[in-house]
Subunit: 145 residues, 2 copies
């Protein structure tokens, strides 16, 4: 559990470094090593698919020269949306750990469960450093108002 | 209707040009002009998010310097999967025309309907040049066996 919190803390740091975007951070880990990390970059680089999860998955695949990431663990500060959840399942990631739950768009149980559509052996656990992860989002939207 | 078939034919040509990947092609059009076109490139470039729809949407956003594509029409030979359907809705695309229906993963009505999760004003129409689009997929998997 301690190790999961350590990687989530790195994802939180990524989220905090984001500027224009909704602050979400992600880290992709294989065999205890960080392969890629990113914040949400949709606004920053005008990439519609630029959620943190998509960026770290695409980056890791490029580094590993394979789009299948069977041994990967993904840490992300917010429950993945349907786009990201579908990509996570399609890329065969083994374990996902997320921080805050997203009742509006969360696709690992909160709004819908993408595992009902795409078969997989994935293990998913939410609520890692939940309060800190939630605070990132709450603070961002309070500042915006 | 004729114009829709013309753009779908260009999407079919893109799909036919693909080599390693499941042959799916997409074209993104604004004001009657093609902004971007691509085949599915997941295997070819080892990009997990490299479905044809994601590639043309990200490419168009880069060209237009905006991740919101409100006036865009997307033509794709196969009904979008949940990842692509969610991205299409998030990027505010106005109209989607697809060719073949996908009972296994189609996320605009066949397997699930992503519009039930993500609010949008999108117009979606399937079955454009359906037989030709279906044949691309059927032929690909028959050759593989």
């Amino acid at each position: 559990m301690e190790q999961h919190k350590q990687f989530m803390q790195i994802a939180i740091n990524e989220a905090k470094a984001s500027t224009k975007d909704v602050p979400v951070g992600a880290v992709l880990v294989i065999d205890g090593k960080i392969i890629s990390k990113s914040s949400n970059k949709r606004e920053q680089i005008n990439r519609p698919s630029g959620h943190a999860e998509v960026v770290v998955i695409d980056d890791a695949a490029k580094i590993l020269n394979s789009w299948r990431l069977q041994n990967a663990k993904l840490y992300v500060t917010l429950e993945p949306c349907p786009m990201c959840a579908a990509l996570i399942l399609q890329s065969k990631i083994k374990e996902v750990y997320f921080g805050a739950y997203d009742v509006q768009y969360g696709a690992f149980g909160s709004k819908l469960d993408m595992r009902n559509t795409i078969n997989s052996q994935i293990s998913v656990k939410g609520g890692i450093l939940e309060e800190e992860c939630k605070k990132l989002i709450v603070d961002f939207f309070q500042e915006k108002r």
